[in-house]
Symmetry: C2
Subunit: 229 residues, 2 copies
């Protein structure tokens, strides 16, 4: 039995970018309208094809930027989607990347050229090909990560209330969380520094502000602590 | 600005299988000798090229079986490796898969056709291309998983001693673990059912045997508990 030698079967390799956004209230997904057949005019993830002289990571960055104007978005590889018929025209393997960004921070970059639009993750339109499978997997990955380490602190203001933090987790998990349990769990993680100031915007009494204690987090996580909600 | 339309750049897509094995003592890695140039005769992961009519998962299973005789090994996708020059002959994107198996259970399957051989993970030979990067990433993934959920219980006998369980975790993490801390942590996870029998092989006094409580694990993990060492 011989190991297969270099062969003639070449495949089209694509990148698809799954960009979630948080606007302090809800989790959203960035979509564009596909500009060519098949499925022209349908909502789609930001996708493109790998070129010969760029790495996968470089291609994902290029595709995202050329289709939306977004830059400085740190994307992580999700996984490779390789169903035989995922693209009806030509056999394509797609490497999906994902990120979770602060919508306000990036809004000025979003280019109108493709009419990139934010959709509520709970209310997505029909997507082309297997893009919905990709999105579902990305959401699972995000929720899984949130259950083992603090995610999303960079999406909040530098000082935030417990309510704002809870909204972030509710947005990621797509469900309401019991407030008392949430506060208890957050406190047990011991990762917040309570400030001496209150936020008076949400209520007359005001709510305490907190900061994320990154130093303590780094130290604890090096010692094998896992956190998460 | 146009979305790139269907294009002519086709890429060679490969699969590489990273098979770890546990023999109740150490973590090992299965390697074969590459059968064609370049790097003929060098140690390599089990790899092959994607065919037009098979999915990525099917290809990984086929490649593993054809090169080692192994079957019924559940592999998970690790990630896609897409450095421009990872293969000096031709631009290749490789999708890496990995698994952790019980060596004794599969030894009868291992085919001698390629001289597949187990190596101690702490003492690997030089590997071709970026296979060592792939292996490192797979090891990190395994360790990360072990830190958030119980892994590897299927690699142990149905009833096992605390010492055997500790050896599994030491093999995964590549370092000795303090026995008292280990026992304390395992007990706090509350996932073992202590048996009424002792294993007398390792010592005259004998060591208690335990079973993994899968029902309790499923219930706890549905309620958001994370475990791990």
């Amino acid at each position: 039995m011989k190991i297969t030698e270099y062969n003639e079967t070449k495949i089209q390799v694509a990148l698809d970018c799954i960009i979630f956004g948080f606007d302090q209230e809800q989790l959203k997904l960035l979509l564009i309208k596909r500009d060519f057949e098949p499925e022209k005019g349908k909502w789609s993830l930001m996708g493109g094809f790998l070129k010969a002289k760029e790495s996968l990571d470089e291609a994902a960055v290029r595709v995202l930027h050329s289709l939306t104007g977004l830059s400085h978005v740190y994307m992580e590889q999700l996984s490779a989607f390789g169903g035989v018929n995922r693209d009806p025209v030509e056999r394509t393997v797609s490497i999906a990347y994902y990120a979770l960004i602060n919508i306000q921070e990036h809004n000025h970059e979003l280019s109108n050229d493709f009419g990139a639009k934010w959709f509520d993750v709970e209310d997505l339109p029909h997507l082309i090909f297997d893009h919905m499978d990709m999105v579902q997997e990305a959401i699972s990955r995000l929720r899984y990560k949130a259950s083992v380490k603090p995610v999303g602190f960079e999406l909040l203001p530098e000082k935030f209330t417990m309510r704002q933090l809870q909204k972030l987790y509710e947005a990621i998990h797509g469900r309401k969380i019991d407030k008392r349990n949430f506060v208890k769990k957050i406190n047990s993680m011991d990762l917040l520094i309570k400030q001496n100031e209150k936020d008076k915007n949400s209520s007359k009494k005001g709510s305490f502000l907190y900061k994320f204690d990154k130093t303590k987090y780094n130290r604890k996580s090096e010692n094998g602590f896992t956190f998460g909600i």
